[in-house]
């Protein structure tokens, strides 16, 4: 890839009616404006997600209104709601079956950490234990505006992804995995409580 064009030169050209772009910008522009989410909901957050897709909040303004019933056609997985340990393997498998490039929004307190059920026995303490999450939305449940904000954040992320170089996007690197191990049902709990390759718990600092 060649050097990016000088911003001042670009705006100068734009004033004269010449629009200059690069392959990377064109590619990302196309991708970020047609993010097709996977159509599934897990709990009450899904109601907010449905409201986001409906007329009042209208996620179609951001090009994300086509909720696909098949992971083969989806770019984005919105984990909307409580992920129970019974459901977690299915979520991971659905993520694995999505075509690259794929993104994950963890919506709501339950999806990001287990939420009010964190101390319980049957709720996963955050979907980021098994799959890489791009945007986290706190809230119980988050309002549709929050989901729209997360969507815009994701668009910003897609827009900044590189096509080449050492820091190019994950899905373009051959060595980056596209699927992650599906947790198994053990005798008492899910076998392997987290995928160490994906899950990086915050360090607890004690004074």
């Amino acid at each position: 890839m060649t050097e990016p064009i000088d911003e001042r030169l670009r705006s100068e050209l734009q004033q004269h009616g010449v629009w200059v772009t690069s392959m990377q910008e064109l590619y990302n522009w196309g991708r970020k404006n047609s993010i097709w989410p996977l159509q599934f909901g897990l709990a009450c957050c899904a109601i907010e997600m449905i409201a986001t897709a409906a007329s009042r909040y209208d996620i179609a303004r951001f090009g994300g209104e086509i909720f696909r019933p098949s992971p083969r056609q989806a770019d984005l997985m919105i984990v909307a709601g409580t992920v129970t340990k019974k459901m977690a393997p299915q979520i991971v498998r659905l993520y694995n079956q999505m075509a690259d490039p794929k993104y994950v929004i963890a919506m709501g307190a339950c999806a990001i950490s287990g939420g009010p059920f964190k101390q319980g026995y049957n709720v996963l303490k955050g979907i980021d234990r098994y799959i890489p999450v791009d945007v986290y939305i706190p809230g119980c449940p988050p309002r549709p505006e929050a989901l729209l904000h997360a969507f815009m954040e994701l668009q910003r992320k897609i827009d900044s992804q590189k096509l080449s170089g050492a820091d190019k996007a994950e899905h373009l690197k051959p060595e980056q995995p596209s699927e992650f191990p599906v947790p198994l049902f053990g005798e008492h709990d899910l076998e392997s409580s987290a995928n160490p390759g994906v899950f990086h718990p915050p360090e607890i600092e004690r004074a």
Binding site: Q97, H171, P174, S178, E179
Partner: protein, 124 residues
């Protein structure tokens, strides 16, 4: 000189071939130079709403289902013809009335045959 009128069909066929081939070629080039394919056992497996699929997706439905198809047809055709018959009932001559009765009799005969064959029993 006017071109051969069939020339447009040739052009049309050419466009119909090139039009779908361009995106396919672009996708192939994209895969070749930018995005490495990443197939895997999960990714290429049969999609069954996230649950592990059991068996093959290409199974044959048992041919016994033809009985249900026939019964469905009986009631379906009956409904299609009965509604216009009922709408036009008062204005119909006696010949048409007898004709529709014969037609209904044929369908009822089919139903009786199916009943006798026992395919209305849900247990079978």
């Amino acid at each position: 000189m006017t071109p051969n009128p069939y020339l447009f069909i040739v052009i049309f066929v050419g466009v119909a071939l090139v039009f779908p081939l361009i995106p396919l070629a672009l996708a192939w080039l994209w895969r070749r130079f930018f995005q490495p394919p990443k197939p895997g056992p999960d990714k290429t497996s049969i999609y069954e709403c996230g649950v592990e699929s059991v068996g093959d997706a290409h199974i044959q439905f048992h041919s016994q289902y033809y009985l249900y198809a026939i019964i469905f047809l009986v009631f379906d055709v009956e409904a299609i013809f009965l509604v216009p018959f009922a709408v036009a009932f008062t204005g119909l001559p006696i010949g048409a009335f007898i004709a529709i009765l014969v037609f209904l009799l044929l369908l009822v005969e089919g139903l009786v045959w199916a009943w006798g064959k026992g395919c209305l029993d849900w247990e079978h």
